[in-house]
Symmetry: C2
Subunit: 523 residues, 2 copies
């Protein structure tokens, strides 16, 4: 499959003329061909109108049809083989093995939503029987969830496959019955086009209207804001910076009809080292934490950017082991020159704050866009006094915050902003402190981990990749895992409709075989 640099607007390949974009190999700084043409308002309008035109037909497909469609996308991505992996590697500097794993996750995500569609519980088909004898009589009431409408998805820089063109947002929105318009991330334009072409072919093969999927390319925020402001668009999925997410949220709230924005933005993922665990295995934790910190050059939303421990001799073992482990970690190329620049600035800003100092660093590295891992240390007192220490530094940097005692650790937990994750390193003797921390942290995060490290997000039923603001803009849901489909559905009730006019999921005899709740009981 050839990369052309065109946008995919429904069935058409369209050359953008508003701007010129080029993919860059961040490991070398070299430009990668071909040139891409960025779109403007005309292309945004065209993609949105096609999506709107496709919506009623697409949402009327059966869950089984959409499941087969998602599976054909998964197979199509796998069939791209090495072409996709090589291009993604060139565009992201991510290792081949990592990208192969990410491709597997991407296909699994699509297949998970296919199985969710077949299971039918997602539709929440609910029946309240008529009670004609009651005074007043109760009508026959039936409820299902339906797709909200066309959805705009912004590809994320740090998952060129699993959270990009055919990533979690796209998979869950398509599963719900929503047409999707993807704004490609400029960090992996060629990867985006390759995957976009797979989806476009799957749309055509399934006989679906072309507007079910479009892929736009554009410079800066112009295309993104235009997409979020278009009246046809009914929801937005985004993973990226806090500033970017807030800008989309502002645009969505400024519409005549506001729409939900699911923005996953910023998280420093505190790791709490409790005393007994620290004493028993502080050195192991130090080494493992550094491994988690530098994984993927620290470019995970769940990267452990904050480590919190109580002062004492047990902490020394952890600190020494972490510093020693870090020294062996090589500098590595980040995803884009912009991300590398922001990392360098973030590290410099931390260094410049009062009461914080560097205690360790990775090896210096040659070549462009190399991030050198960094470990800082401060006291809880200083940390609590300066909220700038809570700002996310995207990349392999973390701050060790030293508390006087458990009470100060708890006070620090209370002051944290919303996070995607929090982690406890704890042993049995730590349970009392752990229980107190859990009560605080449950309110701050989407996922609590015990004796693990926050990087690594399972795609499953129980996963929550979400959390209170500013981790996300909407704490009621998740962007990873089965519940992600909830974001793109809304309930509709049907009162006394004749069977022939009812949606299939609500008809007598359950022709779709969906999960049903009847008069409050699971049928």
């Amino acid at each position: 499959m050839t990369i052309t640099g065109d946008m995919l607007i429904g069935a058409q390949s369209v050359r953008g003329t508003e701007s010129l974009l080029q993919a860059i190999n961040p490991a070398t700084g070299e430009t990668l061909g071909p040139d891409f043409g960025g779109g403007g308002n005309a292309e945004v309008n065209r993609a949105c109108e096609l999506a709107e035109a496709a919506f009623d037909t697409y949402r009327a497909t059966t869950p089984q049809q959409r499941a087969a469609f998602l599976e054909s996308i998964a197979s199509g991505i796998e069939a791209l083989g090495d072409t996709l992996i090589q291009r993604a590697h060139l565009e992201s500097a991510l290792p081949i093995a990592r990208l192969q794993g990410e491709r597997g996750r991407t296909a699994n995500q699509l297949r998970l939503f296919a199985s969710i569609l077949r299971d039918g519980r997602w539709q929440n088909a609910t029946f309240d029987s008529a009670l004609p004898e009651r005074n007043p009589p109760r009508p026959d009431l039936r409820m299902q969830r339906i797709a909200v409408g066309p959805v705009v998805v912004f590809g994320a820089s740090n998952f060129p496959l699993a959270f990009s063109v055919a990533g979690g947002d796209t998979a869950s929105a398509l599963a719900a019955g929503c047409p999707v318009i993807v704004k490609a991330h400029s960090a992996h334009l060629g990867t985006s086009e390759l995957v976009g072409r797979v989806i476009r072919k799957a749309v055509a093969d399934a006989g679906l209207p072309e507007g079910v999927f479009s892929l736009l390319v554009g410079a800066g925020n112009v295309v993104g804001t235009a997409l979020v402001s278009h009246p046809a668009v009914q929801a937005v999925g985004f993973t990226g910076s806090r500033a970017g997410g807030l800008a989309l949220l502002h645009a969505a709230n400024s519409r005549p009809q506001p729409i939900p924005v699911y923005a996953e933005m910023s998280s420093i993922n505190p790791v709490f080292l409790l005393p007994s665990a620290l004493a028993a295995r502080g050195e192991d934790i130090g080494r493992q934490l550094v491994d988690s910190l530098v994984m993927g050059v620290g470019q995970f939303c769940t990267n452990p950017g904050l480590v919190i421990a109580i002062d004492g001799s047990a902490l020394d073992g952890f600190r020494q082991a972490a510093v020693k482990a870090l020294a062996d970690k090589p500098a590595a190329a980040m995803l884009t020159p912009g991300i590398h620049r922001a990392y360098e600035q973030g590290v410099a800003q931390l260094c410049a704050l009062d009461g914080i100092h560097a205690i360790g660093a990775g090896a210096a590295g040659d070549g462009p866009n190399r991030a050198r891992p960094a470990l800082f240390e401060t006291t809880a007192e200083r940390f609590l006094a300066d909220e700038r220490m809570q700002a996310e530094v995207f990349g392999p940097a973390s701050t060790l915050v030293v508390c006087r005692d458990a009470a100060e650790m708890l006070a620090l937990a209370r002051q944290l902003e919303g996070q995607l994750t929090a982690t406890l390193q704890a042993d049995d003797a730590d349970h009392a402190i752990a229980a107190d921390l859990l009560t605080v942290l449950e309110r701050k995060v989407g996922r609590v981990l015990y004796n693990g490290y926050p990087t690594g997000v399972e795609v499953s039923y129980a996963m929550v990749h979400g959390g209170p603001f500013p981790a996300t803009s909407d704490t009621r849901t998740t962007s990873v895992g089965a519940s992600a489909i909830d974001r793109f559905l809304r309930p509709v009730c049907y009162q006394n409709l004749p069977d022939a006019l009812l949606p299939l999921a609500l008809r007598d005899g359950n022709p779709l075989g969906v999960w049903q709740l009847r008069d409050g009981k699971v049928a």
Copy 2:
């Protein structure tokens, strides 16, 4: 039980000193004692701090404990007996029988949420088994939904019991585990205090922290904005005007940490009269529609403010019957002088528009705040050309819109704003048009009715009292029925936690006996 005019801030009765408020009997214009003292920032802060302090204890109660608590509120409201009904009647001018029915609905709502709590499905307990042999190993993942935090509820003018102090928003938030702060509607201050005292006693009897419930009183929007802006508050329930809902939404979005606002605002609830039904029973429909229109002096969120039909001789029968039925309907006192003033203005503004004219009216009436029912007529062409005709006139006014043909009816449906309900009056021969309309209307409304009238909202599992903007500010949920609890919950995932540290709903052996999803299958 005596009405004192105090606010109930936790266990304390507090005399507000920021403003003086008086209840008014809208049927006579007379002031009702006692005087109420409105609160300010000090009382808002105190109530919010108490709610925050109560939250962790309250959310840690078992679902069974909260169920018993809700049931004790229901019994307490019933035990108020005639005292409550008489006061509500004086403050609202609503008939005694209506208020008795509304009291029943209020108690039933509380008991429905008690049964939902005992059923345990609301918690969405989800388990993904560890897969230690997989590469990489999968951890043990468990997910539940937890309460979001303190919730602010604004009492609605038009349901002094069922959507006020112990109404649907309060019941669903308390069920979820959220402390509630109610801002009393100034239209029924005494009713609010009576019910508030019942809740306060139930809090004390259950041994719950006092901050689980507070009732504030205040003039204008000051107290409301301060409540929505307070950092402890995590969600808002509101039923009222579009301007009021949008103001709260703006305040919530302007916070450093935005929070969800569930505002139910404005709806004109279109009723479509399809040709065959109109020919067969146009006169019956005319009479029944007028009954629905004037019920409760038209002061229902689901009042049929728009009737859409195709021109022809069949329409004449409907029109004549409706006009004749309307002429017999007496003018009746509205809920407040302000609501009556707004109704008169709304009717006058409709009259002043080009191409719309009055075709019927109810009887004129004596006494203050009387609303005279009104029926207007216009053409689809004029209606589509002037969006002011879509503005809600809260009260017993409706507009008949005459279409040339089914195509114009469909075009009109497409132009409608979001609504709580849409109704089809249709017979078997109308199914083709009905199916086309349903495809459009599903996207516009929360509930579709067939051969009924939109007034009358069942409190049940399948009910959706919601809909796209501006019907509500959040189309993903409902403010009436079992799903209302979803608004005040968020998911949290627990990774590899030891059983002793897990929340009860997620422990091995299922000590709470909740509904469970295990590895994608209902257990």
